[in-house]
Amino acid sequence: MKTTLARLGGVYLLPVAIGIFTLFLIPTSTWLTLTIAGLAMGMMIFLMASGLSLIFGLMDVLNFGHSAFVSFGAFIAASVLAALSSWVSGGSAALNIAALLLAVAAATTFGAAAGWFFERVVVKPVYKDHLRQILVTMGALIVAEQLILAIWGGVPIAVPRPAVLEGSILIGNVAIETYRVFAFLLGLAVYVAMYLVLRRTRIGLLIRAGVENREMVEALGFRIDRLFIGVFMAGSALAAMGGAMWAGYQALITPTLGAEMMILVFIVVIIGGLGSIEGSLLGAIMVGLTANYVAFLMPKMALASNMILMMAILLWRPYGLKPAVQK
């Protein structure tokens, strides 16, 4: 029994099980809409969570300031979209998409640059000291949040969404928002790219080796500190990209956006197991689906449901579903 389940996909069946279970509780057309929304939300959370998870796995650093990259990404994307408003609202689909891609690219670039600064200045002096790491990254988070408040002000900002991604596709009587499909595809593309880099390239091999045993990689003569910078920049860039996509999804963003998303990101990372990309994807999809189903079935329980999910999984697997290193 157990081996059959493992052969079919093991823990990867969990989101499917959640989907099938809720199919009995929710009318089919609503269920389809919710599922697409859940998958899209999951993919955006995956963007934010994967970087955090990888940084932790390789460097043993948990960056509480990670949510600052998400917020900055969202606000920078909003500013770029507002500046290109003629492209955004114009009739040409190519210009629409170009504006969005430009906004996401700006956010991602900023994330990478800010990640470099963060790694060099904030995190580097406190490697291998968890307590001071938590304190310092927390302090950096406070400063970053205050900077956002100082630059963009405390009022919610409307994010113009490209006209071509506005509205929804009708399949039968199921309405599917175009933006969600776009977000899902982008997340999937990023996952595939990450998977290929980690599994098929020499750098990916080194990163995976570093997650498993950092000292050994160093002893073999590789410059692990360069890997650290690279992974930190990539992780921060992904967080900013996730933030940018989330800004378009929400259409109205506030400075607390990063902090709100951070809770979900933490839950995802804990569920998935620290340090693994596959785990982050699995956790993100589960959290996205659960959040959407529960929001429909019991609106007041939406956030608590994810907490309960996390507790249940921690009881079952204390190190998460797919930890990078089996301990």
Partner: protein, 366 residues
């Protein structure tokens, strides 16, 4: 420290130690005499009571972060449970000491149960993991408090009456003319009684915590902080000790929450449960000095004064630079946390032992 150097005859009091004790003595005297020194200054008394309550809260957090090396972000959750328990009971049962007792007990019990659950579930894994789990738990509690508006009053919170004994109309002592007696020109009414209720409760709780860290239990906790594997090897069950101190700190935080609820006559998400309070606690404990207990007093007083005076200073600076772009925005009094955050980061880098720890010559964390 050897027995020889510890004996008073052979030990000279270092200057740093004297400074710390002098500062704490001054703070203590001011807090003892606050109703008389700050007579007529409502806001001043309010700050004094807030300092008393936060000293307890921060010291109980120091038990975790400073003495045991546990980083928890759920401390405001326990604080809020105590406060909300008291508030809900006072609202439902009417003003009376039985309501405070029942509600407070319920709040403390809830805090204890949650602490046991969280502790047993996640204290056996890494410190960082625990920090994440507590952060998630605390934010869910915050959402619950603002959503279950039938019980908690939602975002608006609860406003209620406290026992008549604490109202300004109560005469503690009656003078010869039948009016309320005065001492140094201050009428001895229920408001004074309430302040001393808060002050003495806080004092007792603080002394209990000082006693705990001086006890064998405190020594074991420090051993766990310094080297977990060795402590386990010597034969101490690390998970049991960690869970025990986590529960203890949670209970004390909930008791501080009761004091806050009684003093404020209000309980709401912003006042007793928000993440901003958690940040305050973290800043206070690090600025004061982790693992020193006495640092809690210094940290709380500095932060409380900074909250009021730093803002004034920043307003002046913002006015002076109003012609420049962005600079006035950064110097806006609402952005005081920005500068405190920078200070906090520098402090963690260069003085990880905090003010009290540096002056007392404690090593702090390496």
């Amino acid at each position: 420290m050897t027995a020889l150097s510890a004996s008073p005859a052979f030990r000279r009091l270092p200057a740093g130690r004297l400074v710390v004790y002098a500062i704490v003595a001054v703070i203590g005297v001011v807090l003892v005499l606050a109703p008389f020194l700050l007579h007529g200054n409502v806001r001043g008394i309010d700050v004094a009571a807030r300092i008393c309550i936060f000293v307890v809260l921060v010291a109980s957090y120091d038990l975790l972060i400073g003495y045991t090396g546990i980083v928890s972000f759920a401390h405001t959750m326990f604080f809020g449970l105590g406060a909300y328990g008291t508030a809900i009971a006072l609202k439902a049962m009417g003003p009376g000491f039985s309501a405070i007792l029942a509600g407070g007990a319920a709040g403390v019990a809830c805090a204890l149960v949650l602490a046991v659950l969280i502790g047993l579930l996640s204290l056996r894994v890494k410190a960082i993991f625990f920090a994440m789990v507590t952060l998630a738990a605390a934010s869910v509690m915050l959402v619950l408090a603002s959503q279950l508006s039938d019980i908690t009053g939602g975002e608006d919170g609860l406003i209620y009456e406290i026992p008549r004994f604490f109202s300004p109309a109560t005469k503690l002592l009656t003078g010869a003319d039948g009016k309320v007696a005065t001492l140094f020109g201050v009428p001895l009414n229920g408001r004074v009684a309430l302040y001393y209720f808060v002050f003495l409760s806080a004092l007792v709780l603080f002394l209990v915590m000082v006693r705990i860290v001086r006890s064998p239990l405190g020594t074991v906790l420090e051993a766990i902080r310094e080297n977990e594997t060795r402590a386990e090897a010597i034969g101490y069950r690390v998970v049991a000790y960690r869970t025990a101190i986590f529960c203890l700190a949670a209970v004390i935080a909930a008791l501080a929450g009761i004091l806050r609820a009684v003093w404020l006559k209000y309980a709401g998400p912003e006042a007793v449960l928000s993440f901003a309070i958690m940040i305050d606690i973290l800043l206070m404990v690090v600025i004061g000095g982790m693992g020193t207990m006495i640092g809690a007093i210094i940290g709380v007083v500095i932060m409380s004064l900074a909250q009021f005076y730093l803002k004034d200073l920043m307003q002046a600076a913002a006015d002076a630079t109003s012609g420049l772009p962005l600079v006035p925005d950064l110097l806006n009094p609402d952005r005081w946390l920005l500068w405190l955050g920078l200070l906090f980061i520098l402090l963690v880098y260069f003085f990880p032992a905090g003010i009290a720890g540096t002056l007392l010559g404690k090593g702090g964390h390496k």
